[in-house]
Amino acid sequence: MKQAKTKDWTHLYPRYAGLWVAFSKDKERVVSSAKNLEVAIKKAKEDGLKNPLMFKVPQQMLPYVGSY
């Protein structure tokens, strides 16, 4: 079965563990990161992105089943 091209986020961990990251328009390259969401967005906007895609990278990358 033919697979679609997935978003490659394999580079997020461990480099950005626990941080908010802002992606470039390709939604793969990280343009800014910070512990604070507002700081990460501000940096990305300073880099020219009007509405960057934000994602909070988990502190640990373990198998996930929606834990609280």
Binding site: Q3, T6, D8, F23, E38, P58, M61, Y68
Partner: protein, 144 residues
């Protein structure tokens, strides 16, 4: 998005570890889509996991703070999952997915664990769209 229009998104690929101290990583794929949240004059775009086992949309309290939402003014919600219970507050928020804009409840919480993801659940997402998660092809399709 018209009634006959569907949107497609790719899965996101991660490198995970079977246990904390493991050196061996595994590549996995998660159904994560981008959406923009609006509150008054502020907006921001976030990536959220599609989870049909979740009753609600759950997002980090940081997001409410960024958008200027008074977190505790919402309706209180206690959410349980594997590992325990967290407290959150539900607010009706304008959500934009591609060109489709709608208003739906989102529960924001400052107690979401550091290992958890922003989640799109049944109320406010699955009740609005027909969702097809094609894991073999790694395609997420949503239709209204």
């Amino acid at each position: 998005m018209s009634a006959r229009t569907s949107l497609k998104f790719p899965y996101s690929e991660f490198k995970i570890f079977p246990f904390s101290s493991s050196r061996r990583s595994i590549r996995i794929f998660r159904p994560i889509i981008p959406l923009t949240l609006f509150y008054r004059k502020k907006f921001a775009q976030f990536a959220a996991l599609i989870d049909s086992g979740a009753d609600y949309n759950i997002f980090h309290g940081d997001i409410a703070a960024y958008l200027g939402i008074n977190l505790t003014s919402g309706s209180r919600r206690n959410i349980v999952g594997i590992g325990g219970e967290i407290k959150g507050y539900q607010h009706n928020i304008k959500i934009k997915i591609e060109d489709y804009i709608y208003k739906a409840p989102i529960t924001f919480s400052n107690q979401i664990p550091d290992n958890s993801l922003a989640t799109l659940g049944n109320k406010g997402f699955f009740d609005r769209f027909t969702v097809k998660l094609d894991y073999p092809s790694k395609i997420i399709q949503i239709r209204r």
